[in-house]
Symmetry: C2
Subunit: 298 residues, 2 copies
C-alpha cells in the first residue's frame, strides 16, 4: 500500500498550484521525505506531463521552486514540475552532518551499497521509482508516461545519469525503468564525477566498491559512451563557474561525439561570464522548459 501524503503548504503560482507534501519514504528507510509539486492550471481537466528537477549540494526541495524561475514557462506549456529533496534527512548515520558535500544535502542520486549508508541513502530509487509511484497513488493528475528530468550541479549529474541509465538497465538496484525519461537537461552538471573531488568523495563513502563501482552506473561521461540510441540532452554551463574543475563538460561532450551523438542529440552550451548560482539557472530556465516541452508534448 502506498504511503499517504501529508500536505505541508500550498501556494497559488502562475494560475497553478505549488504544493509541498511529506510522506514516510520506504526507499529512504522509513524517514519522512518532502517534495514540492507544481501543477499548472490545465491539470484541473486532464493529466499533464512532468519534469523532475534535481537540486544540487546543500539544497532542499525548495531551492529550485523558489529561485529557479521555472514555473512561468511550465505553466504556459502545461507541464507539472516535481522537486525532490537532495538526501534523506535525520538518518543519524555517523558523519552525516560533518561536511556540506557529503551526507545530508548531498545524496548524489545513488543507491548506497556501503552498509553504513544503504538503509537510508537511496535517492536513486526515491527519485526514479518511489516518488512517481507515491504521487500516482495519491491521485495527483500527472501522466508519468510523459516524464523528463533536469537538474543543477549534483542534480545535473543526477538528471544525466538517471536518464542514461534508462537506456541501460538493469543496474544498481531500484532505478529508472527502460526509457522512463523522454529528455534530460542540466545546468552546470558534474559530468564526470569519478574524476571530480565531489564525486569521488561521495562514491567512496556511499558505495562499498567505491569509485570502481560508480564507473558503470553513476558517471554520465562513462554512460553516454555505451548508449547507442538517439538521446535528447541539453547542458548549459558558465565560463565564470568557480566549480568548473568539478564539472568537466568537455569530457562528456567528447564521449558523446565519439559515441556518435551529434549536436541535435547532445547540445552543450558554454555561457560566457555566468557562474554556478541560481542567477545563472534562472537566466536559462525558459530555454530548458521549452526544450523538454518539445518531447513531453510530442
Amino acid at each position: 500500500m502506498a504511503p499517504s501524503l501529508t500536505q505541508v503548504s500550498s501556494n497559488k503560482h502562475f494560475e497553478g498550484t505549488l504544493t509541498k507534501y511529506k510522506f514516510k519514504s520506504s526507499a529512504l528507510g522509513d524517514l519522512d521525505a518532502a517534495f514540492n509539486v507544481f501543477l499548472p492550471a490545465n491539470a484541473a481537466s486532464a493529466k499533464v506531463p512532468v519534469l523532475v528537477y534535481l537540486a544540487g549540494l546543500t539544497c532542499t526541495e525548495d531551492n529550485g521552486a523558489q529561485k529557479g524561475s521555472f514555473m512561468k514557462d511550465a505553466a504556459q506549456e502545461g507541464i507539472a514540475l516535481v522537486f525532490p529533496d537532495t538526501s534523506p534527512r535525520g538518518a543519524n548515520v555517523p558523519g552525516e552532518d560533518d561536511s556540506w558535500d557529503f551526507g545530508s544535502g548531498a545524496g548524489f542520486y545513488v543507491n548506497a551499497t556501503h552498509p553504513a549508508w544503504s538503509k537510508h541513502y537511496n535517492m536513486r530509487a526515491h527519485v526514479a521509482q518511489e516518488l512517481p509511484a507515491v504521487i500516482e497513488a495519491a491521485g495527483i493528475p500527472i501522466d508519468w508516461s510523459r516524464q523528463s528530468i533536469f537538474g543543477h550541479s549534483m542534480g545535473g549529474h543526477g538528471a544525466l545519469t538517471l536518464y542514461l541509465q534508462s537506456f541501460l538497465p538493469p543496474a544498481a538496484g531500484p532505478g529508472p525503468n527502460e526509457r522512463q525519461y523522454r529528455s534530460a537537461s542540466a545546468f552546470s552538471p558534474i559530468c564526470n564525477p569519478t574524476i571530480a573531488p565531489w564525486g569521488t568523495k561521495a562514491f567512496s563513502g556511499y558505495l562499498e566498491g567505491g569509485i570502481e563501482e560508480a564507473r558503470n552506473v553513476y558517471d554520465a561521461t562513462q554512460l553516454i559512451s555505451r548508449v547507442k540510441e538517439n538521446v535528447h540532452i541539453l547542458i548549459d554551463y558558465g565560463t565564470a563557474d568557480n566549480f568548473l574543475f568539478q564539472l568537466n563538460p568537455d569530457n562528456f561532450l567528447k564521449a558523446a561525439r565519439e559515441a556518435g551523438h551529434d549536436d541535435v542529440q547532445v547540445r552543450v552550451r558554454s555561457q560566457e561570464g555566468y557562474d554556478h548560482s541560481y542567477y545563472f539557472i534562472s537566466t536559462f530556465a525558459s530555454d530548458h522548459i521549452h526544450f523538454h516541452a518539445n518531447f513531453l508534448k510530442a
Copy 2:
C-alpha cells in the same frame, strides 16, 4: 565625501549583472549597510532608469533579488533595480531582536524620532536620499531622474508612502525630494498602517509621537487623500492572503477615489486565490516591471 562601496559579490544574470555592495551608512548611524543592484546589459553604453524594490518584514536585500523574478523583464526593458535591506543591522538597541516584526528586519521605512532608535533606524533617509547619492557618487550608470519604486507588504507600505510623500514635502526629516518617483507599485502593501497591528507596533516604538505622529507622514491611506496631482499607482493583493487584515487595500482605494484619483491613476487589483508569498509576487512581477517602464521610459 561619499562613502566608498565595497563589492561583496557579483553574478551575471539575464545578460546584465547583479552586484551586492556594502558601505558605511551615515543615515543608519555609521553601520554597514548592504544592497543589491541589477544593471541591465544596456547600462554599458548609457545611464539607465531605475526601479527601487523595498522588501517586507524579516527580509534582507536578497529576497527580492533571489525570489522576485523581476530581472528578466527589467533586462528586456533596460531598467536597473536597486534592492535595499529592510533595517539597520547590528545597532544593538535593546529589544531590537526580540520580535520578527519590530527592530532588525523591520525598519518600516521611517526616520525614527524616539531617542532609543533615532540614531540608526532611518530607513526613509537611507532609501530616498542616501542610496541614490552613494550609488551616483560611485559612478554606477543609473539616471536617478528616472526613478520609480515598488515593494512588498511592509515594503509596499514603504513604496506607497515614499512616493506619496514626494508630492507633499517637507516632512519628517530627510526623505524624498519633490516628484522623486515617477510611479509606485506594491504587492500586498500595508495600506493603512495606523490601524494595523504591524504598523501601530512599529510607529509606537520608532516614533516619539507614536501613531499620531505617523498619521500625516507614514500612512498611505492618509497621504493619498491629500495628494491632488495625477498619480501612477498599481497595487496587487491576493484574496487568500492570511495577512489581509494587516493590509486594508479597500481603505486605500476608497480614499483614493474620494480624492479624485480614478482607475487610471490608482489601480488596485484583487487576485483570486493568491497569498502573501513570493510565489504570488513572482506571478505578477512582469506586470509591475512593465507598468513602471511606461513611466520610466516615457
